[in-house]
């Protein structure tokens, strides 16, 4: 019966290989994928007809069909003849099914290459036989290695253009092997191919008789990837708590690695609470066991506090739990990474974690793999960094587990994904640095002084009048018997921050330290008046988040730049304009105006005395100080 045969064939199933093509610009990556799709007959007649039309219009191959156009699906890509973003394509042979990500060669689009590589098990690294190993070949190889790809096919492409020359092939293979030696690949298999004409792609070519190895497709069909997945320990990131009614509480998620059975003991990594698995629930019935990749809902014997973001493991195989770790980071945003700045992190199902890169230990030159000193990471640069998170997080080193050792970095204002990280090792155990509890608290100290402690933060351009107004406010509060302290930018730079300059990274660190000092003083019950240009929103918000919501009062001292330049009380603007000072806010460094300051002080038509009085009124309105 044909229907029975159909069902049986489907039932048998196939395993899948996920791979990417990568390498330098124009090495023939898209052409190769197009060729594979075409030769494995997954392109339908109407699509072939469209390809012929497209080739006539956009093709880069004269009168022949341009197979790259099967893959380069965006209008901009077809017009420019390049790949901009990853394309995901599928094809199936009798032995395997394949999901391939075709990635762009242009350095500008490296983040899209990394996107494609993150889930791949194998990479085909293409090299143009005429050009040999290029910087971009090395960059992509390095990223593949960092992202945990262990199998590489070195496709020496356009072999037709070097007359199928064996010496040329051998030399490129030799060069590449020398470079790749330290990258930790388990296998590197070189194959001479012509993506355009199909040599050694799905059939052995008779033009390369000197080549004895397999053709590309044979190799992709036969490479053993299963045995790589060494028996990993059980990890289950809780994705969603399923609580339809009072009688059911299940933890939905996908098993990241290992397996778990009903009755097994588990631990919640962060809290250390243990219990047993009661049932493994699916709509198709309860499962005796769940394996890596299964999406299930687990119920537990005991009611313990578990939420989205928790990581479940076996008690004798716990992951790391800490708030500081070292990691490789690929930077993917036009705005560079600045050490000390706050970002949002996502690790596993734990989202929205506040944290920062506390130090860039070094940047890695992708060409030489040399370690270089760096204060920042620019677009597509790779660094090794220390990361601190606001809460302890559970993870494994990326080398051990790709699922539980990876994280992304998100910008707090634009929400763009700005970085991708691979955790190397924990820096300390969070549990060892429990905070020392203090017996006299902030509220007692404040009560003694009969005031509400807070941080009054004056921000604005140099010469806007911050220090003048802050000083008068301080005098007025003093006269009202308030306990205050005034922290001023220039003064701090003479002491605590005298090692810092005016680069973006140093400005961030400057404000971080000031913020911590201001917080300690507020803890002491003081009204802390701060006067700092503090040009970046991110750092002002970092300080804001150090104290309770009502304790931070941001005052935007708003004086137009022209007016500040006209006043130029310290002669700094004229120096900046003549280039004698670099990175001067408003001239060659940015000032990000506050979006929602507690008080917006427009200075133009009022005296400093009036402005200070207005600030005092705000403090009274907020019951920070009491009016007479």
């Amino acid at each position: 019966m044909p229907s029975k045969a159909t069902i049986d064939r489907v039932q048998a199933g196939k395993d899948q290989l996920q791979f990417i093509t990568c390498g330098s610009v124009d090495d023939g990556k898209s052409t190769l994928i197009g060729r594979l799709l075409h030769d494995s007959k997954v392109i339908y007649e109407d699509q072939l007809a469209a390809l012929a039309r497209d080739s006539a219009k956009h093709g880069t191959t004269g009168n022949d069909v341009d197979f790259a156009l099967l893959v380069d699906g965006l209008e901009a890509e077809r017009e420019q003849g390049i790949t901009i973003d990853v394309a995901y394509r599928f094809f199936t042979t009798l032995r395997r099914s394949f999901m391939v990500a075709d990635t762009p060669g242009h350095e500008q689009y490296t983040r899209n290459m990394a996107t494609g590589a993150s889930n791949a098990q194998l990479a085909i690294i293409l090299i143009d036989a005429r050009k040999g190993v290029l910087v971009q070949t090395k960059r992509h190889s390095f990223i593949c290695s960092l992202l945990g790809i262990r199998h590489v096919v070195l496709a020496v492409n356009k072999i037709d253009l070097v007359k199928y020359n064996k010496e040329r092939f051998d030399r490129i293979v030799g060069d590449y092997m020398a470079f790749a030696a330290g990258l930790g690949f388990t296998s590197v298999v070189p194959i001479p191919i012509s993506a355009r004409y199909g040599d050694n792609v799905i059939n052995q070519s008779d033009k390369t008789k000197w080549y004895q190895g397999p053709c590309l497709l044979d190799y992709l069909e036969s490479i053993d990837i299963q045995s790589d997945v060494a028996r990993q320990v059980f990890r289950f990131p809780v994705q969603w708590v399923n609580r339809p009614n009072l009688d059911f509480r299940g933890y939905a998620g996908s098993v990241a690695s290992g397996s778990i059975s009903a009755g097994d003991e588990i631990v919640v990594a962060a809290s250390g609470r243990t219990t047993r698995v009661k049932r493994i629930v699916t709509q198709d019935g309860n499962l005796p066991r769940a394996d890596a990749g299964d999406a299930v809902t687990i119920t537990l014997e005991d009611e313990i506090d578990i939420g989205r973001g928790d990581l479940l493991a076996r008690p004798n195989e716990r992951p790391e739990v800490t708030d500081q770790f070292a990691a490789h980071l690929i930077w993917m945003d036009n705005d560079p990474l600045v050490a000390g700045r706050n970002y949002i992190f996502r690790i596993g199902t734990r989202t929205g974690v506040a944290g920062s890169i506390t130090a860039i230990k070094h940047r890695i030159d992708v060409n030489t793999r040399e370690h270089l000193a760096a204060r920042k990471l620019s677009l597509n640069e790779i660094g090794f960094c220390n990361v601190a998170t606001a809460l302890p997080v559970a993870f494994d080193p990326y080398e051990v587990n790709r699922k539980t050792g990876s994280f992304i970095v998100i910008d707090r204002f634009t929400n763009r994904t700005v970085g991708a990280g691979m955790i190397a090792f924990p820096l300390r155990r969070a549990t060892n640095i429990a905070r020392q509890p203090l017996s006299v608290g902030k509220s007692e100290r404040a009560a003694l002084k009969n005031q509400k402690p807070c941080i009054i933060w004056f921000t604005g351009l140099s010469g806007a009048g911050k220090s003048t107004i802050a000083n008068i406010v301080d005098q007025k509060l003093f006269a009202m018997s308030c306990h205050t302290i005034l922290l001023d930018g220039d003064n701090m730079r003479h002491g605590l921050n005298r090692d810092l300059g005016f680069s973006e990274a140093d400005r961030v660190e400057n404000i971080r330290r000031v913020g911590e000092v201001a917080k300690l003083m507020a803890d002491g019950g003081l009204i802390v008046i701060c006067s700092f240009i503090s040009p970046y929103r991110a750092e002002r918000d970092m300080v804001r988040n150090l104290v309770a919501r009502e304790e931070f009062i941001e005052i935007f001292v708003d004086t137009p730049l022209e007016e500040c330049v006209r006043r130029d009380p310290k002669g700094l603007y004229s120096k900046a304009k003549s280039g004698k000072i670099k990175n001067f806010t408003g001239i060659d460094a940015p000032y990000e105006i506050p979006m929602r300051p507690e008080f917006h002080l427009r200075t133009m038509d009022q005296t400093p005395e009036q402005l200070a009085e207005a600030v005092i009124d705000v403090l009274k309105a907020r019951a920070i100080v009491h009016g007479h």
């Binding site: 229907s3 159909t6 339908y44 699509q47 973003d85 059911f248």
Partner: protein
């Protein structure tokens, strides 16, 4: 189980009466107590199990990460699978979001019947939205042309509905294997305010670490079925015994030839031309949409097994029958820029 949980909201009709949408969060959960150990899922071959699990993970991610998600339900085979998987994802809870059907008023009659029956059978909330202005302007696929009809009655209508109900994430059943600009899509496809897609500026999407953060007015389209192929869909329907619209199965149906395609005469609105006489042919559809724009294929496949077998020998793509993609080169990408699903 309770079938009364279904609520069909026809926002076009309600709007006319000055209806302000007040969508209640699903308060009704239902629980099936099923302690039997499963045998069924282990019958799924591993490639389908993997796809199913991946889709479930994506769906849960959306429910955990967004305030007000919705699932676009187009009544077709992909939607049927998506809905089937969604119910598994949240079991034993009820589906934690409504379905939204953007009705152009030109769907096959059998589709509408199937839609309402499905909502009822599964006890899910269904919102039906029609672009009322478009209807009043008399936009239709025959006189207005497929491009204008699609833009007004599908793309604009969809944007209206998303804005009206303040949905921040919308599931779509589109697959990467459908079309070459679809192959370039992320799973979580970010849309700036105004539903604009900028393919040159997509968020990097590494591992399964989706970035679900949005600012005011921004939305997410989520393609939970991205990595399924047409064949996977049919194989899954076969093994999971999922009901689909009968139009997918071959039957004698009245058709005419128009613009090189075989068009079924579903009602009088097709307005037959003098040289057109409907003939009965054994046909079926590989994709379903507005009936005057959906080309049928000649086929004898009357069972799912037949369809799967036919798929293995197909020589043209499923989109070939769609009249809307041939309007102009790169037309799918252009429609997607404008906010089409």
């Amino acid at each position: 189980m309770q079938q009364s949980g279904c609520r069909v909201v026809r926002s076009c009709l309600l709007l006319r009466q000055g209806y302000r949408p007040k969508r209640k969060r699903c308060a009704k959960w239902h629980l099936t107590n099923n302690n039997s150990v499963s045998k069924k899922n282990h019958m799924l071959p591993k490639h389908l199990r993997r796809l199913e699990a991946e889709s479930i993970e994506i769906m849960r991610e959306v429910v955990a990460g967004f305030k007000n998600p919705v699932m676009l339900y187009s009544i077709g085979k992909d939607s049927s699978v998506m809905l089937h998987v969604a119910i598994k994802a949240f079991y034993p809870a009820k589906l934690p979001f409504p379905l939204l059907h953007v009705d152009t008023t030109w769907k096959f009659r059998e589709m509408i019947t199937f839609r309402d029956e499905t909502a009822k059978r599964l006890g899910v909330e269904l919102i039906v939205h029609v672009n009322k202005e478009g209807l009043e302007r008399g936009i239709n696929p025959i006189d207005s042309g497929s491009a204008l009809h699609t833009r007004v009655m599908k793309t604009d209508a969809l944007k209206q509905a998303l804005d009206l109900y303040h949905f921040d994430a919308a599931f779509g059943g589109a697959r990467r294997d459908e079309e070459k600009s679809r192959a370039k899509e992320r799973i979580f496809s970010f849309r700036s305010a105004g539903h604009v897609w900028d393919p040159r500026n997509q968020r990097p999407e590494l591992w399964n670490l989706f970035n679900t953060q949005l600012l005011q007015g921004e939305t997410m389209r989520v393609f939970a079925m991205s990595n399924w192929t047409e064949l996977d869909i049919w194989e899954y329907i076969m093994l999971e015994k999922i009901p689909v619209v009968p139009l997918y199965f071959a039957k004698q149906r009245p058709v005419v030839r128009r613009s090189g395609a075989t068009i079924m005469v579903d009602d009088k609105r097709l307005r037959l031309q003098s040289n057109e006489t409907p003939e009965m042919r054994m046909i079926r559809f590989r994709t379903l949409g507005c009936y005057p724009l959906s080309g049928a294929i000649d086929s004898d496949a009357t069972t799912i097994e037949d369809i799967v077998a036919e798929m293995h020998t197909a020589t043209v793509s499923e989109r070939q029958g769609r009249l809307i993609d041939t309007d102009e080169a790169a037309s799918m990408e252009k429609k997607k820029w404008e906010g089409y699903f």
